[in-house]
């Protein structure tokens, strides 16, 4: 068995999330790869919570398609997932003496009742241990990292004393024993150990990855306003920046946080903010200021269901239009699209280099799926992160901050440099010396200068990654977490012998038109799957490249599954 998906569902607050985190961590220790997926209730308390872990001995590309094993902590969870309980899957559920009133029989589904509530309450006299009972049962039944789990328990609860450790271990054992004694395994699922964990593995969420990427990318100034699902980025930065002698500000709103970042950037810092759609909307005006004043900065946008407050805890990829084209006037920006957690680290760090090199705002478009998920990944080596810094004024008279150059990039001075470097950064159209100037000639010259930088970038940026080769019936192009799903779906299609390819661009704006056209030239049909209602990437791509892709849109708050996408690929073939 090389791939297994376990899903746990129940009431928010029943320890679903911590149980999921633990088994993911234990599995990572046992050498498995993991990729998790959670959904939170919209409210602070109560409501349905779900945690899914995908385990594999191979690299995991996405959340996967459905789940093999579902563990229902209560009736609501069971009801919500009933439709997904396909023949061949496994159900473990709280029965008897939970709120599920009848034994469950579903054709072809391996149903194992486990009275987790009763065991926790009656046998262990600690209702909170219910999740540990379930964990024990799951770990045992499917042979996942049992020893590692127990070790982890000892470490985790060690600080809380022997007693706590003992109770939790007892709960795990109770789960194991109940299954041993009462259930005969009828299903085929058995993960097994992957041997030893590779030495250089870490387990990290997408949001933490953005924080880590920023730190590795040299970010030392950060300001943000809390917002779901991006707050964890700020939490990470808040913890580490002071240790690095950096500066963290919790601002009064998103406008202020971007303003803080602009000031810090002007003064020389590698600076960043993180937010989600509602925050990014508020930042549009100041983003334009960053473009015209040519200030490097990074924004990580963890997209959520929109518009307005929308669906704060749900996955969506509907900020692409705004990322590329929001705000008034013509203002160049760079937008990067990470595929998975490792990519977030890499691209967030890279975002700082691009911001510095091209002196403009760089947006990293994360999304709900990426932000909340946890992945085991190869440990990034800090030494491998090379920092590119802005072209700097080196002193001397006659300095012009916005000197027009062949690349569009001009050296920057900053306060503390000498007086001859002094200039007034401004949101007004200006001449090379940064003085306001609205003559037609000057306007065109400086507008062209700013957009020239995008041309330079497109010329210099590495080609988008190609999956597959030769001519194809279908070529898939997507962005963000949907790239991982596409990669898996295309792999599945190719394994079936279908002529399918994919292009995985990291630079989503400006578009790498030549590369996209060359790719499209090898495909009969271009398919653009994305998680939004308008088909934003498809429209932009049509608008910029003239290629006319088939747009495939999902906007129900969930990521695509590879099977869903595979079916679509076959449909458009």
């Amino acid at each position: 068995m090389s791939d297994l998906i376990i899903r746990i569902g129940g009431e928010g607050g029943e320890g679903i999330i911590s149980a999921g985190d633990m088994i993911a961590q234990a599995a990572t220790r046992s050498g498995l790869n993991v990729l998790t997926f959670k959904t939170f209730p919209a409210e602070i308390r109560g409501g349905y919570a779900m945690y899914q872990v995908r385990f594999s001995k191979d690299h995991i590309m996405s959340e996967g398609s459905g789940s093999n094993i579902f563990c229902a902590f209560n009736k609501e969870a069971l009801d919500k997932n009933r439709a997904d309980l396909k023949p061949g899957t496994v159900l473990i559920y709280d029965y008897p003496d939970g709120d599920i009133e009848e034994e469950v029989k579903i054709d072809g589904v391996h149903c194992y009742p486990l009275p987790m509530s009763r065991i926790a309450k009656k046998d262990l006299e600690m209702y909170r241990a219910k999740n540990m009972v379930a964990l024990g049962a799951l770990s045992y039944m499917f042979d996942i990292a049992l020893e590692e789990l127990k070790d982890l328990l000892r470490e985790k609860f060690g600080k809380k004393g022997e007693q706590v450790v003992a109770t939790n271990l007892k709960a795990v054992d109770a789960g194991i024993n109940y299954m041993k004694e009462h259930q005969k395994k009828t299903d085929p699922f058995k993960m097994g150990s992957a041997g030893k964990m590779a030495k250089d593995v870490i387990i990290i969420s997408g949001n933490e990855a953005a924080g880590l990427g920023a730190v590795l990318g040299g970010c030392r100034f950060f300001s943000a306003y809390p917002i779901t699902p991006a707050t964890e980025i700020a939490n990470y930065m808040a913890q580490w920046l002071p240790k690095l002698d950096g500066t963290l500000v919790q601002a009064e709103d998103e406008i202020a946080s971007l303003a803080n970042v602009l000031g810090a950037s002007y003064a020389g810092a590698r600076a960043m903010t993180s937010t989600s759609g509602p925050g990014l909307s508020l930042m549009q005006g100041l983003l334009g200021l960053a473009s015209i004043a040519e200030l490097p900065l990074v924004i990580v946008d963890v997209q959520r269901g929109g518009p307005s407050t929308g669906m704060p805890t749900k996955h969506e990829q509907s900020d692409l239009f705004m990322a590329c084209h929001g705000g008034h006037g013509d203002a160049p920006r760079i937008v990067l699209s990470p595929e998975n957690v490792a990519d977030i680290i890499k691209l967030t760090a890279e975002a700082f280099n691009l911001a510095e090199e091209y002196q403009m705002p760089v947006l990293v478009l994360s999304d709900g799926s990426l932000g909340f998920r946890t992945e085991s990944i190869t440990r990034p080596d800090p030494a491998s992160f090379k920092l590119v810094t802005r072209a700097r004024y080196t002193g001397g008279e006659g300095f012009r901050r916005y000197e027009v150059t062949p690349t569009g990039v001009s050296p920057m001075s900053q306060p503390g440099d000498d007086v001859a470097g002094a200039y007034i950064a401004t949101g007004l159209e200006h001449n090379e010396s940064s003085n306001p100037n609205f003559t037609p000639e000057n306007r065109v010259k400086h507008c062209d200068k700013r957009f020239k930088k995008l041309e330079t970038l497109v010329k210099n940026y590495h080609a988008p990654e190609l999956q597959g080769d030769g001519n194809a019936d279908v070529g898939v192009i997507s962005f963000g977490s949907t790239m991982g799903v596409s990669r898996e779906a295309v792999a599945l299609a190719r394994a079936e012998g279908l002529k399918v390819k994919a292009l995985h661009p990291r630079l989503i704006w400006p578009m790498q038109v030549e590369h996209i056209k060359a790719f499209a030239a090898t495909c009969k049909t271009i398919l653009v799957p994305e998680c939004n209602a308008q088909g934003q990437l498809a429209e932009l791509m049509r608008g910029v490249t003239g290629i006319n892709p088939v747009s495939y849109r999902l906007y129900d708050g969930l990521p695509f599954s590879p099977q869903q996408l595979l079916a679509k690929i076959k449909e458009v073939m």
Binding site: L244, L262, G285
Partner: protein
């Protein structure tokens, strides 16, 4: 860079750019006093940053030779905070108008003030939107006519900038008048001297659009704070701000206190965390070991 040990004079702070204000605009006087105060402190041209928003008054940084940032309407304070908090070595001075700072920018003011961010803020209060040609501003006297308020401002009360700043926790609060240059020079010097957030409201008449609160009006209205005014008493300062004698306005330093500044607070945190610019980043990575 020509190394010079000669003292900088007021005029040395002036850039080559001609001030674009209307003849007689109060902002000329502010610019003069700012140059004087900068010279009095011998602020280095290359490590002083003048930040502003948008408005006639916000054009001021162009006329100085220092570094500067002419930001967006209402955003001078958070931009300036970004400059200062990332680079505490810089002297950061903020300029703006009553609309810029109390209307569209009014949401930032309280937080910059209560955090005691080490900035000097000079507001040019003309009780009007000058640049957009004469709309009433939050400091306009209720009833006065503006282009969008042709039948008079319908607001029950207007913004009292001093009282606001005091309530927000500004640690230095003063008021001057462009028609009283000596006092303004002195106030600005004190403000620059102050450690923490200092706010100076300068009544700076708009000759072109404000036909009510004119230079003459202010000349008649301005009186010094009483000799016995207790600068250390917040409630007393509020009382002076809210209750000047009828038809009068106080000028002078209303309030001053020394509290830890935002820079100091952040430094203390970093110190406690054993801040180290050269920390081995492997530590930050290995924190994620399973």
């Amino acid at each position: 860079m020509t190394a010079t040990t000669e003292a900088l004079k007021a005029k040395d702070y002036r850039s080559g750019i001609r001030a674009v204000w209307c003849p007689g605009c109060g902002d000329y006087g502010v610019l003069n006093s700012v140059q004087n105060a900068f010279a009095a402190h011998q602020l280095p041209l290359n490590s002083t940053v003048c930040v502003s928003g948008i408005g006639c008054s916000s054009r001021l940084p162009y006329f100085l030779k220092t570094y500067g940032f002419h930001t967006a309407h209402g955003r001078s304070l958070p931009v300036a905070a970004g400059v200062k908090l990332s680079r505490p070595d810089l002297e950061v001075v903020v300029f703006g108008g009553d609309g810029d700072l109390f209307s569209i920018g009014g949401g930032h003011f309280p937080h910059i003030a209560r955090k005691n961010v080490d900035l000097t803020l000079v507001m040019m209060d003309n009780h009007i939107y000058g640049l957009t040609k004469g709309q009433s501003s939050p400091t306009s006297t209720p009833g006065t006519v503006g282009s969008i308020t042709p039948y008079g401002v319908p607001d029950t009360s207007n913004v009292n900038p001093l009282a606001y700043a005091l309530t927000y926790g500004a640690t230095f609060v003063a008021q001057g008048f462009s028609g009283k240059p000596k006092q303004m020079d002195a106030i600005l010097q004190e403000a620059l001297n102050h450690e923490g957030f200092s706010f100076v409201n300068v009544l700076s008449p708009c000759l072109t659009f404000n036909k009510v609160d004119t230079t003459d009006y202010f000349k008649a209205a301005f009186i010094d704070l009483p000799e016995d005014h207790d600068k250390g008493n917040l409630v007393a300062a509020l009382d002076r701000a809210f209750n000047p004698p009828a038809g009068k306005v106080y000028s002078g330093i209303f309030f001053q206190t020394r509290k830890p500044t935002m820079v100091e607070n952040l430094r203390a945190i970093n110190k406690k965390q054993k801040a180290d610019k050269n920390m081995d980043l492997n530590i930050a990575v290995d924190w994620f070991k399973p």
